[in-house]
Assembly symmetry: D2
Homo-oligomer: 242 residues x 4
């Protein structure tokens, strides 16, 4: 058995989930701080596991008080929590990027179709240059985000180090997602911020993308440091092969 207590963790959908995965320090004496945590499955109906409240727009706060679960709920070995998390987060970030591409493409389709039917101030929106720029910029951004996602996936498939590519597409993809949805809303006018189109929900959720799985600023600093290490060693960054 293992036992743990926690104050105020936020967990996505904990109020409707059968179990949650707790990431907690089990080896506080371990000198290597990357080997101190373990990952443990905790059924949400375990005694001591309490949903404190549902946080509007997001997650649940849960509190764990002397929660005990069987040993076999441990994922991997003791102290492997950090390694498991990192293994999951890399591909996890790519999956986000793939989803975002689908969302951006959906918003793009809505935008293009809208411009071909909405007539205002003497012409269709599709005939207005400011709107044409929305479309050209969005297409360029979608294409570049798509190709960068594929490049990162290709490196993962070949067993190469894809950490810089993943961090780049995590930051860039989240920005593209927002910008395309934002323009699609603009061509819909007030309609775009009602729940009558999927854009309003997409817009709110796109904002989360720059925070979850690591905020932009952390990835940005990581990219720079990894690239600079190359130059410190007298080498240089090669976008095709790092």
């Amino acid at each position: 058995m293992c036992q743990c207590s926690y104050q105020l963790q936020t967990v996505t959908a904990a109020n409707i989930a059968a179990f949650t995965t707790v990431f907690c320090v089990t080896e506080p004496e371990e000198p290597n701080r990357h080997k101190r945590a373990s990952m443990i499955i905790v059924p949400t109906n375990t005694p001591g596991c309490e949903i404190v409240r549902v946080v509007p727009t997001m997650d649940c706060e849960i509190r764990l008080t002397n929660v005990r679960v069987p040993k076999e709920n441990l994922l991997g070995s003791r102290g492997e929590g950090f390694v498991i998390a990192q293994k999951k987060l890399g591909p996890g970030r790519i999956y986000h990027c793939m989803r975002w591409l689908g969302q951006a493409q959906r918003a793009f389709d809505l935008m293009c179709n809208r411009t071909l039917t909405r007539y205002a101030h003497g012409s269709l929106l599709s005939d207005k240059q400011m709107i044409q720029k929305f479309i050209a910029d969005s297409a360029t951004e979608i294409q570049s985000a798509r190709l960068m996602t594929l490049e990162a996936a290709r490196k993962i498939d070949r067993g190469e180090d894809a950490r810089i590519d993943i961090a780049m597409i995590k930051v860039y993809g989240a920005k593209v997602l927002h910008d395309v949805i934002d323009r699609a809303i603009q061509v819909h006018g007030a309609l775009g911020v009602t729940a009558d189109t999927p854009l309003e929900k997409m817009y709110r959720e796109a904002r989360y993308a720059r925070i979850y799985a690591g905020p932009d600023e952390v990835h940005t600093a990581t990219i720079a440091r990894r690239i600079l290490r190359k130059y410190q060693q007298g080498d240089s960054w090669d976008p095709a092969n790092f």
Copy 2:
């Protein structure tokens, strides 16, 4: 023989060139306006071909007065000038993008190496987050421009219609070129705007890139119109296959 007169053409390097290529209307009666022009080789020492002046930072102005050249100087057939120009401009734009990638990578290397040696306000530039953001953003932009250039080239190689991809990378690549050089200059401080590094010249020439081979605004409108045509036909834009 063919004969022509022109006022004030600007021609790159005409003052040091052995010949120039004149694009002129030879079939003024032709109803199809894309079949009116021809392309003719004119040696710069032909009588009537006069260098009016060298325009600072750019080209030469030349004046052609009753210039006569042999028939074999005609490139292709009469009226084919526009087609020849278009055939050349598509791949020509890709070549620009390839050169730009090389320039951007060169500026990027200069920037990274500079940040590792320049100490200011208590630390190396490489340790400052605003500079790390310069590096991460530049790397992301170079990677995306590189992948889009390859994608356009791949479509050309496969004989597919690459016009949207070429227009996108022409606009986007020119922006990336400028932005990376601009950041490299900033980390060099005053040194970056002297001729002691290649950056100052690269910066000036990067500005031309948004004008030559078609200004950004023309390509932007073209991209939008080509994409919108798909939606007008009940189809949609697929970045992988257009």
Copy 3:
């Protein structure tokens, strides 16, 4: 008495309002299209006035069927609707800008205080340059939007033509509002997109600001046309006196 029928107007808060103001064509034969509409007060409990549905995140759709109200519900004279609307919209846009400044300042305060208490990756957020840039950019934008709002108000007070200034601050102020809130959210991380801070609601409502009282694109074109008219007359634009 006057009578009117309408399909599907969206009206803010019509479901809780005692009356709404209907802007409708009463003089269809009038050659001057700016003199065709009138503005009429319609109590929402008038027979024929029906709330069709509440549109999520926004307004109500109402339908008017043979609605009859007394003559004294007419605002101003017949055909004066457009003039009344324009008189209201100019100052109305300034009021928006004033509210936005308050919102932006509130988000700014939240951001600054958060950076002084949130410790991550080895230091307070306030010590990190990327975050310092958030603060400096936001302060600059708030200061500039504030001064432009005051300038427009000053011109209105002096009885000068403030239409360019109002259009500029409408577009610019809405952008500043969004950008400051967006950065405040980012320094709050996941907390910033929950309802635990006012930022999440501010973020959604800031998006409307680029649409209501005229979308950015309409104001942008208007500013340009008004300024260009000066140059067409051989004059030039003077930001201090137009």
Copy 4:
């Protein structure tokens, strides 16, 4: 008499100047590092004062070897160099901003007039929305930079602390200068990057503005730190009164 030697200082226009002002450490033992330097006038024909070379696009490198000048060439007192420099730099930065406003307005006039005469792709440039956006954005930026410059000057005139306002307008004004000139060039096409208009030279010199009198990044960090100090003291930043 005082005597000094220096390696490789760069001095603007030293090759044509009658004298230069040397800022050098005269009190190396002084514990307060802001009281170690003095400011001394050095005629360029003083023995030991040597122009090493003219640096293309910028300044001269000079070398001082055992240069001796009379005591009355000392500006202020010994150790006052830093204070004198700071006293000069604050207003100096405002003067830059004033010059930049003039330059930006000049570029704006050139842009507007060009759009009214240049016909391309079926209409005047002034009728195209992408160009109208250039004009509206430029006007908005000029107006905001102008008002912020006036605000900083007003605070200086009233004897208030204007350091945040000066730093903000130094960074923002330099950006506005670049962006307006950049758009003016774009509407001029190839003509805009030749010396046939003043824009090409303005463009190059605008790039220096983000470096001289302190690079953007230093001012950005300073603004943030000064503002955050307010919040650390339980106060907040008031754009009207700081």
